[in-house]
């Protein structure tokens, strides 16, 4: 049983015929935590807006809870929860007033579904008389999530919920999502942070409106295929420039405090890379085998 199915949808904007979403297809299983992973401008928000019936696709079709996003838009609006990328609650209303307003608009009350939001709401409850505009970024996200959840949606759409939120709040937020998933809610979440991909059941990597891959994070990493090394030296800039001339490497790029080098020859060892670098006057380079991450996979997909 699918919560969301997307078949070949395309979205084109304006007179310039800018293709924001290009024949995208994927499906989300019931009770799944599904991630749309891609950089800014990849088309994530457009996909969300089409699935929440806010935009009409130019071609293709999609369903949410089995309802067509064009024909049955009213039915979808009654049953989904949506949290837009931009903070969109009433800034001049207090935390409690916001929650009460959205509960009532959806024809329910705070008490009925309090169980669902309890874990999250207790964290912002001390500030329930504070106006929403005066909350910190993390608090705002928690309140927005509460408001999106208060009517017990069957599918939850979260558009970049962790953008602009500090690392601690980000971690907490993902833990909340896991608990919600355990309650049987299907969650579609988008994020530009590759490290959050591992927290999803399945992910779709998306770039320039096209889907690169739809898989579990483990399978995506397992399908990487190449050997990967992490290299570090005192002068990173010189190191990266030098690695570009390493003809045995498939690709090399900065990755945090390291440079990642991928090779499709598993006979090459760390020592070989060190030797190459030594030959180019980079003496004390640290070379260690690296675990494949989603970001490495994403970069590889982009190269192909």
């Amino acid at each position: 049983m699918f919560s969301v199915t997307v078949n070949d949808i395309t979205k084109v904007y304006g007179k310039e015929k800018l293709v924001a979403v290009d024949r995208v297809s994927f499906s989300v299983n019931k009770g799944e935590l599904f991630g749309l992973i891609g950089p800014d401008g990849a088309g994530k928000t457009s996909i969300f807006r089409m699935l929440t019936t806010l935009l009409l696709p130019d071609s293709g079709s999609a369903t949410v809870n089995g309802y067509d996003i064009v024909k049955d838009y009213r039915l979808i609006r009654n049953t989904v929860g949506y949290m837009p990328g931009k903070f969109s609650l009433y800034q001049d209303l207090t935390v409690e007033e916001n929650l009460h307003f959205f509960a009532t608009v959806f024809g329910t009350g705070i008490q009925e579904n309090y169980q669902l939001i309890k874990d999250i709401y207790v964290q912002i409850e001390p500030f329930k008389n504070r106006r929403a505009g005066k909350l910190s970024g993390g608090m705002k996200q928690k309140l927005a999530l509460c408001c999106a959840l208060i009517h017990k949606p069957t599918v939850l759409f979260l558009d970049e919920p962790t953008t602009g939120v500090d690392p601690v709040s980000r971690k907490e937020f993902w833990e909340m999502l896991k608990r919600l998933k355990a309650q049987g809610i299907s969650i579609v979440v988008s994020t530009p942070y590759m490290d959050e991909a591992d927290l999803c059941d399945r992910i779709a990597l998306i770039q320039a409106g096209k889907i690169l891959s739809v898989e579990t994070p483990e399978n995506i990493k397992a399908g990487y295929g190449d050997t990967l090394f992490a290299v570090k030296s005192a002068n990173m800039y010189r190191l990266l420039e030098t690695l570009k001339n390493y003809d045995k490497a498939l690709s090399s790029y900065a990755f945090g405090e390291y440079a990642h080098v991928s090779l499709n020859d598993n006979k090459i060892h760390a020592g070989d890379i060190k030797q190459f670098l030594a030959g180019r006057n980079i003496q004390e380079a640290e070379v260690i085998p690296a675990a494949v991450t989603i970001e490495d996979c994403f970069i590889k997909f982009l190269k192909n």
């Binding site: 009433y90 209303l93 608009v105």
Partner: protein, 368 residues
């Protein structure tokens, strides 16, 4: 219903928690009534005048005394030379000079005609005309009193009665006009930004993905402003009656009912603007520029519509304030009933229906 109530309450919070909105909503009407009622009046009072009385006989002194006692004139001084008159005009101290030639009494008694010379500063022609009219009527009065003792062979005395406004006070035409203007400004502007604000801040995005119906959004936006504007009407009426001494001659329930109709017309126009625009700035500009000027020009309270060229007269028909101005004058000042204004009431109701339906039709159920 519960949804509707909570939405209305939310709108009240928006208004009551924003000081600027509150100031515009309640401060502006009070200010405008005071400004238009007291400061901006087209009556000319206490104009300075010099008198050159060369006669200094009983008749001339009686006339001077009459002018001095009039509230329209304040005698600056009496002078003796022609040159002093010129100097006084050039110094800008006086608006008018009156010269009574020597032998005024004699001429009046024996020749039955006497002359006075009136010199007015016509750099503002309206004031000059008004002042000469005042002098004329004072002289006329004086003359008719003299005539009581003498029976002239033929005399036609026009007896003028100023209906509805015997003292010709300007507030009689100002207050209805200002009411039309204020309600238009406040109602249109406030509602015009209310829906577009939800679009700009993104809350519309969430509202759309909810079971909420467009009709309810429109209705719940209008209700708080209807209530607040009603309070405004009461304030304006109380101020007009007690501060400006303007009588309400017609039925008060009828007056309130037509005012509510006009408020609803303005609110639906504001909502229509709000639905059609994308930014608060645009909504504000349209409701200010697009409403303020036509309302002042075409409502008939500043410039008489009858004097306008035909095309402008035709245009004035689409300005709601024009119809409200007619209605309110009829009810408030002439004391007429519904029978006299049913046509204008129907026109306003028709406009309201049009804006509401047009707004509802163009309400976007999606983002693009």
């Amino acid at each position: 219903m519960k949804q509707f109530m909570v939405f209305v309450r939310k709108e009240f919070y928006h208004v009551l928690r924003d000081r600027k909105t509150l100031l515009i909503l309640f401060g502006m009407p009070v200010m405008q009534i005071l400004i238009f009622g007291f400061a901006l009046t087209n009556e000319v009072k206490n104009s300075r005048i010099v008198i050159m009385d060369e006669a200094k006989d009983p008749a001339s002194q009686q006339l001077v005394a009459r002018i001095a006692s009039s509230k329209y004139f304040e005698i600056e001084r009496t002078i003796t030379g022609q040159r002093q008159i010129d100097e006084a005009f050039k110094a800008g101290k006086i608006k008018m000079a009156l010269i009574l030639p020597a032998g005024f009494n004699e001429a009046l008694l024996h020749e039955h005609t006497a002359q006075v010379q009136v010199i007015a500063d016509a750099s503002d022609p309206n004031i000059a005309t008004t002042l000469t009219n005042y002098i004329h009527s004072i002289v006329q009065d004086f003359q008719s009193e003299l005539n009581e003792t003498i029976t002239a062979p033929y005399r036609i005395v026009p007896e003028t009665r100023m209906l509805y406004n015997p003292q010709q006070k300007s507030v009689y035409s100002m207050v209805p006009g200002v009411m039309a203007l204020i309600l238009m400004l406040v109602c249109v502007m406030m509602t015009a930004i209310s829906i577009v604000r939800e679009k700009e801040t993104g809350t519309m995005e969430i509202l759309l993905v909810s079971p909420f119906k467009p009709f309810l959004v429109i209705l719940s936006k209008a209700v708080p402003y209807l209530l607040l504007s009603f309070i405004n009407i009461i304030t304006i009426l109380i101020m007009s009656v007690w501060l400006l001494e303007l009588p309400v001659n017609g039925s008060i329930p009828l007056l309130l009912a037509v005012s509510i109709l006009y408020i609803i017309t303005c609110l639906s126009l504001g909502i229509f603007i709000s639905i059609k625009t994308e930014t608060q700035q645009a909504a504000m500009t349209i409701s200010l520029m697009g409403m303020l000027l036509p309302t002042i020009m075409f409502s008939g309270f500043m410039f008489p519509i009858e004097n306008m060229p035909l095309p402008l007269q035709v245009i004035s028909n689409i300005v709601p304030a024009k119809w409200f101005n007619i209605i309110i004058k009829a009810v408030m000042i002439k004391g007429m009933g519904l029978m006299a204004i049913w046509k204008e009431v129907l026109i306003l109701a028709g406009m309201t229906l049009f804006f509401l339906l047009a707004g509802l039709k163009s309400f976007k159920i999606r983002l693009a």
